[in-house]
Structure formats: C-alpha cells, structure tokens
C-alpha cells in the first residue's frame, strides 16, 4: 500500500500525549508521591520505546497501565524499605484524592463518592478507578492487575454497591431532615 505508518518517535509521542496524565495519576496513587510517580511514568515510556510495536499496538492502553503498575509497586516496595511511609500520607497524595478536610467544600454527592471510595480496600479502589476513571474494560483491568475476570467483576461490583448503599442512606437522611 502507498500509505506508510508513523515513525516510532511519533508513535511514542502520541502515546505520551494521551497517557501521560492518566498514568501519572495512577502511579501517584500507588507510590503516594508525585515525584516517584514521574519516575515511574518516565520508566514506563522508556520501556515503550524498547517494546516491539507490533506486539503492543493492539492493546497499548492495557500494556502501559500494566508496566506502570508493576513499576510503581516495585518503587513503593523499595521506598518502604528505605524510609517508612509517613503517618500522614494525605499530604503526599495526588490532588485528585480528597483529604478529609476537603470534603465539606466539595459538591456533596461527589464528595460522598470519593469519601466512600477512600474507605474501601486498596484493590477495590484500584479496580474501581481503572473502570470509572480510566475507562478500562474488565478484561483490561484483569490484565493490568493480574487477577481473574471474576475477581475484577467482584471488586467493581462490591465497590459500586457500597457507594449505592451509602447514597441510599444519605437520601433517606435528607428526607428525614
């Protein structure tokens, strides 16, 4: 055919444009440190440069999330060994997560969702965010988190149900008041 594909540079640049922010947020949630997250994401893209493009292209998103996640957990482990996590991790959190004090200032329902989410186990949170924030499919999430499809479904459902219950309770409360 007369049309020829993108250069590798342009391909990587395009992936960077698209995934830099979502991956940074994702990594920061795991490492709880923006600087570490930046290193992780840089690393992820360096690996993308070395990857066989034909193998990655069909599932670029899932590939990047997977590499980023593994890298982020490696870093977190290493950091934990070297310096114990500070008690108040909220300061190091990416701005996306509400610290308890922020809640009142936010839109009620939104705040409630985020607050409930914060109380959930880490794996539920992660699956839930990958689904609703990063818009991955169950299959992709399973791949990224290295868990079965059934587990993904269970995690997402449990999280959503918890949020639903909380919403119901809030609404009942509002009616009573």
């Amino acid at each position: 055919m007369t049309e020829t594909p993108l250069t590798k540079e342009a391909w990587v640049a395009a992936a960077l444009e698209r995934f830099e922010q979502p991956l940074l947020r994702y990594a920061a949630r795991i490492t709880r440190d923006v600087e570490l997250a930046r290193d992780v994401v840089q690393d992820t893209f360096l690996r993308l440069c070395a990857a066989e493009r034909a193998e990655v292209d069909a599932h670029l998103g899932a590939w990047l999330y997977t590499v980023c996640r593994n890298r982020a957990f490696d870093v977190r482990k290493k950091e934990a060994r070297m310096t114990p996590m500070p008690e108040n991790a909220a300061e190091a959190r990416p701005s996306g997560t509400p610290a308890p004090g922020d809640v009142a200032e936010r839109h009620e329902a939104n705040a409630m969702v985020l607050a409930v989410l914060d109380t959930l186990p880490e794996n539920q949170q992660e699956a839930f965010r990958l689904k609703f924030n990063d818009e991955l499919t169950y299959r992709e999430i399973g791949r990224v988190m290295d868990i079965s499809l059934g587990t993904v479904s269970n995690l997402v459902t449990t999280a959503l149900m918890t949020i639903r219950e909380r919403l119901r309770a809030e609404m009942n409360l509002a009616e009573e008041v």
Partner: protein
C-alpha cells in the same frame, strides 16, 4: 459480602461488560421485570455519579519534566524501527465525528479536554517549531476529535495548518470549548443526555425508550482510544507486507461420487458473488488469490446468464443444458440454471431498509468507509417515495445515526451518511441486535424488510465468538427480516464470517471492492439484491445409473445438504432475488466409463440395487427443486427430467461456454485435482467464445482477469 451474583451481572450489564448470551437473558427479564428495571436505573445513576466524581476530581498532576521527556524522545529515536517511514500528515485520519459519535463514544475527563483545547491554541505558537512538534500536536488533535466527535469542520484546521495558516487553531479550540461545556453536563448524566440527543434527532419517544431499555444508550465505558488502531493514525497496520489477517475457511473440493452409492446430490443455492470480487481484487494487485478464497459457485454466479424467465406461477424457471466437458472431453458437463422473475423498477415493493455500518477503526482506509459511503449514496439514489431507510453504526458501541426516514427525504439520509467517520473497535453483535430491532419496528408487511450490513467483518469487541454471532443472526432471521452483507476492504477481511452470516440470515453477500462493483450490486441488480422472491431454495439431482457412472458438483462445497434435508422444511437454504440467475455445474462420467473412485468393499448382506423401469427411459437425471415463498413456511416441489442430447461442447450455447470457462478458471486458481486439461489459454478461448452480448462488460473484464492470472501463473 454485600452482593450476590445477580448484582455482579447487573453491574456488568450497566457497564457493557456482558457477553451476548447473558445480555440476552437479562434483557429478556428486563422486558417484564419492573423491579429489575428500577435496579438497573439506580445502578446506572450510581455509575454515572461515580464516574463524574472521579473525573471531576482528576485534576492535572505535574507533568514529566523536560529532561524526562527528552530522555524518552532520545530512546524512541534510538529504537526507531527502520521500516517505519514518515507518514504524511493527511493520512493521520482526522475524523470529523458525528452527533452519534458524540452520544455513544466513551468520553474522556474534562481536564483532559481543556488540556487539548489549550494545546490546540498552542499549536499556533508551535507552528514554527518544526515538523516533529507539529506532528505530535496534530496527533493530539486527531485523537481528541476522534474521541469527542467535533463537527465535521474539524478537517479545516488541518488543511490550514498544512498550508501554513495560523487562524484555524483558534477556530478549532472554540469547537473544543463548546464540547467542553457540553461535556460537563453530560458527564453528570451521560445516560440521560444520550437519550436527549436521540430525541433531538427526531427519534420517537418510543424508540428512545426501547433503545434505553435495551441498553443501547447506556454508557459504553471502554478504553477505545487506547486499543483502536486508528488512534495512532495507523489504520494500515494490516497492510504491512507479510502481515495479513484475512480469514478463509478451508475448502475441500467435492469429489467424484459413484452414482450407485450416491444417487442423490443435494445442495442449497447460493447467489453470493463476493468471492469473484475478492479474487479480482487479488489479481488486480498482481497476486494470485489464496485457493480457499476461490469459491467457484460464487465466481460462476457473479455473471448473469440469459435464461428465459418463468412463465407459470412459480417464481423462477429452471433450465438444464448438457454438453461435452471442455477440460475432460470424455466427460459430460451438465449446467443447471435457475432464473428468478424479473421485476420492473416501479413494481418493487416498498422497502424498509436498515443500514448497519461498521465505523470501527479498521474501516478507515479509502477502500472501506469512504467507498461504503459512495456505495450507499448510489443505493439511496435508487430508492424512492415508498421506501424508508434507517441507519445504525457500530464501533466500540452501537448507535443510531438515522431513525427510519422516508427516502424522499434524501437530504437527511445523505447528510447522515456524510457525517460518518471511522474509529473504535468493533462490537458487531450489539450492532446487529440494534439493526434488527429497528427493522422489526418499521416492518412493512409484504414489502422489503432488510438489514444491510456493511463491514470488513472484523468483529473484535462484544460477541466475537463466530458461533454466537451466527446463532444471533439465525435467531434474528426468524423475524422475517432479510440480510444483505456487503464486505469491504482487505487485509483483515473476515470472509468466512461474512459468508456465514449471510447464509444463516436469509441473505446474500457481496464484496464491494470498487465503485463499479457497488453499482452492479446496488443499482443494476438492486431488485435481486433487495427483493427476495423465494427462500430456502434447495436443489436435489437424482442421477440415472443406467446413464451415469459418477458425478461431481463443481463448487458449492459449503452448501451441500444431506439428502434427507431436501424434504425437511426446517433446514435453511439459499434465497433467490428478483431477476437473479443461479447456475450450478455437474461434471458427469457417463456409464460404462472407467473412473478412479475410492473403492469400497462389496456389501455382504445386500445385493446391488436393481434398476427401476425409469432407468431405461434414457434420462440422464431428474432435477428436483424445493422453495418457499418469501413469507411461507412450507416448501413446494418442482421436478424436471433431463436427457442428454449428446452435444459436443462446440455446439453448446455461449452462456454454457462462459459458465464452463469461469468454473475452469476457478479450478485453475484452486489448482484443483480435477482441472484435467484446463489451462489459462484454453479458458481464454472458451470465455471468448462465450462472450455473448456482455451488456455491462463484466465478461470482458473476466477475460482480462484470466490474462492477468496467466501472466502471474507463468511468473511463478
């Protein structure tokens, strides 16, 4: 545990994660179960809220530093694969998007959009910074328009940028801002807004409700952009030399069969022509087609033959001609020809057509979606007042582009066509359901009710299991809606899937490789393509052992039926359209001749069958046909005895010679063990003798193809 398995299923349903079977089950329950409907509505609202909350909260994180970026750039350069050449900007595939895309394609966070708008504004500044920077910015804009469906005018900035214009990005950014604003509302209730949009496009409230209840307007939450090949501007991935994902089913050629052991030959008719167009595409590109891409019956049936139309009550006539077999002179060739009654354009009953168009990323190349749009335009021009067209698309999610619209409103139809753009992965299953539902809703009694599916058949999302897709189609076909499958493109054409879909869906399958082919299928043969005059047409031939030693049906390998299926009205078979001709060829070994057949031991308990009196009649065979009226359930039987006049092939009619030459050509391309003395030269000679009137020049084109194949064959 606060939930049970039902909750998981419902959540998966709301998130579009169910497979076809489970989806069916839930939707069935939803139709009657009010409680379940409420539960789904609540979950949708919760999901929408959760998504909104998360995406609102996702404020930008400090980006990579310039050092970090530079390191990546250097690394990318070092690893640059040498095969990847520079790609011109115009090929980045900047889709304009459509209102439909906007409603049905998953969305990205607001923050990201704002960033995109800023980047677009920044392009003006970056313009002087050199081609690399510009390209990456362009990539961004292409990505964004993909995902958000800006107006078609998104094309304009590109053109201007290329010519060095500066003002365009500002215009583009306005577009994005509008989108950003719209986005904010939408995120809060994606589900509801999709419904509103549908209403704006004059879908009846009932339809909206129905679509909603079926989940078509739900959130297609999926990371489309990341997985779609179109996103990195790379729709041609499949075009790289050596990389080809076309799928053809293996064809095992029909063998010669002993008449005593197999007195009956039974098969379903096939009016598909796709294989011929596909073979032509290969040859035109100077390659011999893979043998399994050559279905001889589809080659033969690509051409219409001058059989006289029926004069009685039956919808078609049958004609048998027997003459010498050109490639094995001691054998006979029997040609069975059926001709459906012809219908004048003004007699065509009112049509209710639903176009189901594949707009997934793989449809981006010019020989796919753009050609499809041209082809559809041709079709729309043929349709008139009494006809209605609806249009649905499918990619990552399926959606309605055009509700059923009378064809005199050509403008609305053409406008909807014009707005289609490719992007996304392919959820064929969901699209097929939507299309059939639309067709059933607008059913015209006694008219043409048909889904026209246009795709490259690469169904890679949703129901991808071919068996399930086929069962879905089979089920839907029972609604009385017929199916036309138009295959497009190359590189990943899933020929076998498409043929089977058409086969099971009471339909026909044509491969559209050029505008001319579109004209043939959708203009010249429109009646045949749209109007089915008889369905489940089966042919059974009983050979007379007094005259015939053995026989071989040429082609129709995947249409063979068991002898008992002939009388079984529940067994599906092929359809014949108005004016269609169907041709089948048997190579016959006359009685008394030796033929190399697989040997079976003589039976111990049975004597060879005695010949009945009729065997002495001198008849060669009896042709039996069964068909049903298009809306009928019981078949009618026709039978015609046939005798051999002993004509040599020199005395055969032009049509006979031409059909024989096409079959011979197919055998050569398949390198058939039965090709006998056939050579490209001999085929050419035969085809030229059989040229006939050739009103549209198709036969002349065939002769060109034989020449081409001869040259290619000689080169090998």
């Amino acid at each position: 545990m606060t939930h049970n398995i039902d909750n998981e299923k419902l959540v998966a349903y709301v998130l579009g994660e169910l497979d076809e079977a489970q989806l069916n089950a839930i939707e069935k329950r939803l139709e009657t179960d009010k409680e379940l409907q409420d539960a789904v509505a609540e979950l949708r609202a919760t999901a929408a809220l959760a998504k909104h909350a998360l995406q609102q909260a996702a404020s930008p994180v400090a980006s990579l530093s310039s050092d970090q970026r530079a390191a990546i750039e250097v690394q990318a350069k070092e690893n640059s694969d040498k095969t990847d050449a520079e790609r011109p900007l115009t090929l980045l595939g900047l889709p304009g998007g459509t209102a439909t895309n906007r409603s049905f394609v998953p969305r990205w966070p607001v923050g990201f959009l704002v960033a995109a708008a800023l980047i677009l504004i920044a392009i003006a500044g970056l313009f002087a910074a050199g081609p690399t920077l510009l390209r990456s910015s362009m990539m961004q804009s292409s990505t964004m328009s993909h995902d958000h469906g800006t107006t078609p005018r998104a094309h304009a900035p590109v053109a201007d940028l290329q010519s060095g214009g500066i003002s365009a990005p500002a215009a583009a950014s306005q577009t994005y801002y509008r989108d950003v604003n719209g986005e904010a509302d939408e995120l809060s209730n994606n589900y509801f807004v999709a419904g509103e949009r549908a209403k704006e496009r004059k879908v009846s409230a009932f339809q909206v409700e129905r679509l909603e209840s079926l989940g078509y307007l739900g959130e297609g939450v999926r990371l489309d952009a990341a997985t779609r090949p179109g996103w990195v501007g790379d729709p041609n991935k499949n075009f790289w030399p050596g990389h080809n994902t076309e799928a053809y089913d293996r064809i095992f050629e029909n063998p010669f069969l002993d008449v005593v052991q197999n007195p009956l030959s039974t098969f379903s008719i096939d009016v598909d022509t796709a294989s011929y167009a596909n073979v032509r595409r290969f040859l035109t590109q100077n390659t011999l087609p893979p043998p399994d891409a050559v279905r001889i019956e589809e080659l033969v049936n690509y051409f219409s033959y001058d059989y006289s139309p029926p004069d009685g009550d039956d919808p078609f006539s049958a004609h048998v001609e027997v003459a010498g077999c050109p490639w094995t002179p001691e054998h006979r060739l029997a040609r069975i020809g059926l001709k459906g009654w012809e219908m004048a354009e003004d007699e065509r009953p009112a049509s209710n057509l639903v176009f189901l168009l594949d707009v997934s990323g793989s449809m981006q190349p010019p020989n796919k979606l753009p050609l499809l749009k041209e082809a559809m335009r041709l079709l729309v021009e043929q349709l008139g007042e009494g006809d209605r067209i609806a249009m649905a698309v499918y990619a990552g999610a399926a959606g309605l582009v055009l509700p059923s619209t009378p064809c005199d409103n050509r403008e609305a139809i053409l406008d909807a066509l014009g707005r289609l753009e490719a992007g996304g992965s392919t959820n064929g299953g969901q699209g097929i359901r939507l299309a059939y539902d639309l067709a059933v809703e607008n059913f015209v009694k006694g008219g043409v009710n048909r889904v026209v599916l246009a795709t490259d058949g690469d169904f890679n999302v949703g129901t991808t299991n071919q068996g399930e897709l086929i069962r879905l189609i089979e089920k839907k076909a029972k609604s009385g809606v017929f199916l036309t499958v138009l295959g497009f493109g190359m590189g990943n054409l899933k020929d076998s899937t498409l043929e089977q879909l058409a086969d099971k869906g009471n339909g026909n399958y044509a491969y559209i490789d050029t505008l001319n082919e579109a004209r043939k299928v959708l203009v010249e043969e429109l009646g045949g393509t749209l109007v089915t005059i008889a369905k489940d047409v089966k042919i059974q031939v009983e050979f007379n052992p007094a005259q015939v030693r053995a026989y071989r049906l040429i082609g129709y390998e995947n249409r063979i039926l068991a002898a008992e299926d002939f009388n079984d009205d529940t067994k599906d078979a092929g359809e014949i359209g108005a004016g269609h001709t169907v041709t089948a060829l048997y190579e016959v070994v006359p009685a008394g001749q030796d033929v190399d057949l697989p040997k079976v031991d003589p039976l111990k308990y049975q004597k060879p069958v005695d010949m009945a009196q009729a065997a002495a009649s001198g008849e060669l065979l009896t042709l039996k046909l069964r068909y049903k009226q298009p809306d009928g359930d019981t078949s009618k039987l026709l039978a015609f005895p046939v005798s051999d006049t002993g004509a040599g092939y020199a005395q055969a009619t032009a049509d006979f010679k031409f059909a024989a030459s096409v079959a011979g050509f197919g055998m050569l391309l398949r390198d058939s063990e039965h090709k006998g003395a056939a050579t490209f030269d001999a085929i050419l000679e035969l085809a030229e003798e059989g040229l006939g009137e050739d009103r549209y020049g198709y036969r002349a084109e065939f002769i060109e193809l034989v020449r081409k194949a001869r040259a290619l064959g000689a080169a090998e």
